[in-house]
Subunit: 147 residues, 4 copies
């Protein structure tokens, strides 16, 4: 069996993504989609969805899509930077995220993620830069460990 | 009583900040500090703290500190952009955040947030731009509602 | 005559845009285009076009397009942030920039700019946030003057 | 002679840095400084220094400082992303830039650059991420060439 096997350190149902309710609908190498149902636990005190939830969705979606694409080559993916611009608040319904890959380099992938509400209005833009590194014998490796 | 009163729409103990365990230690107009204790529910499957948690901490800390400073002037604060660079993974212990205000303008405040681990190593840098807007009769107002 | 008149402080042919050779081809409120012919004076010592040239093109193009759209309302535009990701070097030919407006708010506009080479390859992505402010009697006004 | 020799493709006096007048005062591995004297050719039509000039200064300064530090190891440096926030306009005098290295990883260095005016007022903040790559036989190499 040549397929690399990867065993999660934390089972998905106990991760942060499970905590805030991430549902990945598609995780292809060029387009990825996810959604999260809004509930009070995702809001800040003024009743708006917390900006960190939107940043988290983009982070997970693009990391997962990149990882799925490179794992077969014995490589891993990890977020290098997350640039989120907040355009319009979300207060209820479902958060919809669509990620499009804009760059596939040897060591970094760049994705742009659009986050919208149930009415299709653009609520946030996220540019994610994902580092792609060789997987050292299946062990977890820091993105860019200082020396 | 001239002091503006502000009643949260969602009580703190039901917010996203409560969900991931934010503790704000100091929320001054120039320096603010917070911490979060690491647990599995804040991690991604590889066992590292999810990048979205770090982005969320910076978002809440600087929004809260700005809001506290401007609420007395009848103004409100809301995140405009969050730029997080991930430098080193955090796997256990406590996440420590220190925010320093770098700009106080009429309509935007800019903060830089350092996130470090229990050994004092810098793990992420976040630049937060917070929009400051007039509070319309105490009602929640979108940051920058499209027309 | 209701049309606001705006007299440049520095004539275009002496500006920075003239120095590096910006040609704006289209400056609409939703899409804008520009190009710059590569020459040694735009390069860094290794022979690649300097990243600052790409950032400058996006800055000017989106500022100009926003200004043209809001000047008629007695408002002005000024860059608030410029986030440039460098994907592929440009070494010769012409630099092509296409800007698409993604958000039109009361106080900020957000544009995404794609910069490509003569072969249509994506070389940089720029997210520009432009502040829109009331024009005080036609005088130049700082974006967000600290108090 | 073990010292790597590096011959510029474009001589400094013909580069973009020479065009806008960059003077690097210090280019250490942890702190770097530069300045640029303001003249009309660095301005936009409203009479303010063009934001692209500030982005360019940060780009050159941190690329040069990183390159000097890694060239001895047979490695090269190239800008990966430039995130500039504009805080206060500069209209005359000298532009002063101080860069501080915040992260030194195997494949990326992160710097934060403060840009100020003659009165020491903070006018822009730039976070630069610099990619560090092996130098292939002294030849110029794209940052992250798509496959």
């Amino acid at each position: 069996m040549d397929e690399p096997t990867w065993k999660p350190v934390v089972p998905f149902e106990r991760t942060f993504d499970a905590l805030y309710g991430l549902e990945i609908l598609e995780a292809g190498p060029e387009v990825a989609r996810a959604r999260v149902v809004v509930r009070d636990e995702l809001k800040q005190p003024m009743g708006l969805v917390h900006g960190g939830v939107l940043a988290s969705i983009a982070e997970s979606l693009t990391s997962a899509a990149t990882a799925l694409a490179v794992l077969g080559e014995g490589r891993m993916a990890q977020g290098l930077s997350n640039q989120t611009s907040f355009l319009r608040p979300i207060m209820h319904g479902t958060i919809h995220a669509v990620a499009r890959r804009r760059h596939r380099g040897r060591t970094t992938w760049v994705w742009e993620v659009e986050i919208s509400d149930d009415d299709g209005r653009l609520c946030a833009l996220v540019r994610m830069t994902i580092a792609v590194r060789d997987l050292p014998d299946g062990r977890v490796q820091a993105v860019d460990q200082p020396r």
